[in-house]
């Protein structure tokens, strides 16, 4: 056993809650995807993320207690991942922003020897696939029809304000997040350019309302999401499933 691998609760929850919440959102697509291949792809990505979440939450405590018995103010996910699915373009824009970030983050973690290196080494392969999927759909929607272009642009613009938060420092996460931010911007700018989309011009962080998920300050749709997710578990205290 290694001795230097004390897990930072804040870091494990930040990464784990991101994966848990985004997985949940993608799970909401089941049965409603635009083509059957996307039923498979979105569920596949959701499952990968749920797998990551389970490992990360288990580093801190009992995965189910953490997922089902914490209240909104105790969740540490970024506000980006809790945003409602919207149309397919919104889901893809969220995926593009997040998977690009996650790929860079896990790439860094995998190359280090911290407590997340093992998980990151496995997850980086998954998130490379997620990023590829998001990129290809960004290209198809951005450079598809006038309608898909407009929808994709609107989605990219609407979610832009939630992207800055991803690069705020997280306690115990041994990654130079501001350095990742530059690479992230370059990557996203490149994909959007190839998709004939304009890089959004608005702020990437704002007042407290955008960019405080890591402090447990979330957006309104999140509470409703948790109510649905936790209802059954909370209705049967102490039960095993």
């Amino acid at each position: 056993m290694t001795t230097e691998t004390t897990v930072s609760t804040a870091a494990a929850l930040a990464l784990g809650d991101d994966a848990l919440v985004l997985s949940h959102r993608l799970g909401e697509w089941a049965g409603s995807a635009p083509v059957l291949e996307e039923e498979v792809a979105l569920a596949n990505i959701a499952l990968d993320l749920l797998g990551q979440a389970r490992v990360l939450l288990s580093l801190v405590g009992d995965e189910d207690e953490l997922a089902y018995l914490r209240e909104e103010r105790s969740f540490r996910n970024s506000q980006l991942v809790e945003q409602p699915n919207g149309d397919f373009a919104h889901t893809i824009a969220r995926q593009l922003y997040f998977s690009t970030y996650q790929r860079l983050l896990y790439g860094q973690l995998a190359s280090g020897d911290g407590p997340f290196a093992g998980l990151a080494a496995k997850a980086v392969k998954e998130v490379a696939y997620h990023q590829d999927h998001a990129e290809h759909w960004t290209l198809r929607l951005g450079d598809g029809t006038p309608e898909s272009h407009q929808r994709m642009q609107r989605a990219c613009d609407a979610l832009w304000r939630y992207t800055g938060e991803l690069f705020q420092p997280v306690d115990g996460l041994d990654v130079d997040l501001p350095a990742l931010e530059t690479t992230w911007l370059d990557s996203v700018t490149d994909v959007l350019g190839r998709a004939t989309l304009t890089v959004p011009s608005g702020p990437r962080t704002g007042a407290w309302s955008a960019g405080a998920g890591r402090q447990g300050l979330h957006t309104e749709p999140f509470g409703r999401m948790l109510a649905e997710m936790q209802h059954l578990h909370r209705s049967h205290p102490g039960a095993t499933w």
Partner: protein, 338 residues
């Protein structure tokens, strides 16, 4: 096994040949087809086959594919409420597998000269059916377990013999489908077992779900043999290997001891072992309900079809975008991005 290769449409005939010659050729093809079926050989897409055989397979495979797709809904209904992360992962994987099964089956149907778009259109317009079981609602978490145990159990009983179906692409699809279905069935059983052995409330939830799903599961085998219009022909063609009633009996014989092991009862006071027959006797099925659900009057018929149509309509702009993008870029990069 290849019988006779005669294009994909089944129509033959050489320009200028006499009617008698065409008829003789047709008879020869039929004889080869009949001999291949009799010898348990597989019919393949390019083999000649009777038009009725083709139509019957398209109907059955399409209905099977549609059932996988509509069948995602009652279970997906619980993905966002699954009570533990482990159960949530299992359920997501299952629903994903169902979409995959739908894809295999549409591919198998396409080898018969139809297309997925055409089949989906028939599903959406109500011209093709899906399994009536999916017109029942999932009201509690235990329904997910009951579906795994009973509905998947019935499906497997139906589908294992289809692995030996005379049409090769369908038989091969079923081999893959059955492997995954068996896995789901065990997981469903295990989920119910956890509930049955859990708190009083959980046990009651499990029992209630079994009470609601038992009879609809028995109906999955279709009408009784004397009312089944397709059975005789399907058996002669070796598409089906057993009658509806035979398979239903087989399912009951397997399910009764499983229910006992679960510590749950089946909602049928007439179930008892019949020493003479070597089978479990069971009570009469409410065929009025069966035909009613089939005709569209089940609890969720409208809801299921509306949701499917909605997903398709909402996704139209996405599919158009993919097609437009592929059109623009196929030439440039030499690859289609569909």
């Amino acid at each position: 096994m290849t019988a006779v290769t005669a294009g994909t449409t089944g129509t033959t005939g050489t320009p200028g040949a006499s009617d008698a010659a065409v008829a003789a050729e047709q008879a020869a093809y039929e004889a080869v087809f009949d001999a291949a079926v009799a010898a348990d050989e597989r019919i393949e897409p390019r083999d000649w086959m009777p038009e009725d055989y083709r139509a019957s397979l398209v109907r059955q495979i399409a209905q099977h594919a549609h059932s996988e797709i509509i069948g995602m809904q009652p279970e997906a209904n619980w993905i966002t409420r699954a009570p533990s992360l482990r159960r949530k992962a299992i359920l997501m994987a299952k629903v994903q597998d169902e979409a995959g099964h739908g894809l295999y089956l549409y591919s198998a149907a396409e080898t018969l000269g139809t297309s997925r778009d055409e089949l989906l259109d028939k599903l959406h317009s109500g011209r093709q059916k899906y399994s009536s079981i999916f017109n029942y609602p999932t009201l509690t978490w235990a329904d997910v377990g009951a579906i795994g145990w009973l509905v998947d159990g019935a499906a497997i009983t139906n589908q294992v013999p289809l692995c030996r179906c005379s049409y090769g692409p369908y038989a091969r699809a079923m081999v893959r489908v059955c492997k995954e279905e068996s896995f789901h069935q065990r997981q469903g059983y295990e989920a119910l077992l956890a509930l049955s052995n859990g708190t009083e409330a959980q046990h009651a939830m499990a029992q209630d779900a079994v009470n609601r799903w038992w009879w609809p599961s028995l109906m999955m085998f279709g009408p009784p043999d004397d009312e089944s219009t397709h059975t005789a022909q399907a058996m002669a063609w070796k598409i089906k290997r057993h009658t509806n009633d035979e398979l239903r009996q087989r399912f009951v014989d397997i399910a009764v001891p499983q229910a006992e092991a679960l510590g749950l009862t089946l909602p049928d006071p007439d179930i008892r072992w019949n020493e003479e027959r070597g089978h479990y006797d069971f009570g009469p099925i409410d065929w009025t309900e069966f035909w009613d659900v089939l005709k569209g009057n089940g609890p969720c018929n409208d809801q299921r079809l509306s949701k499917r149509r909605q997903a398709h309509e909402d996704g139209a702009w996405v599919r158009e975008a993919a097609a437009a993008y592929a059109e623009k870029h196929t030439g440039k990069h030499g690859e289609a991005q569909a």
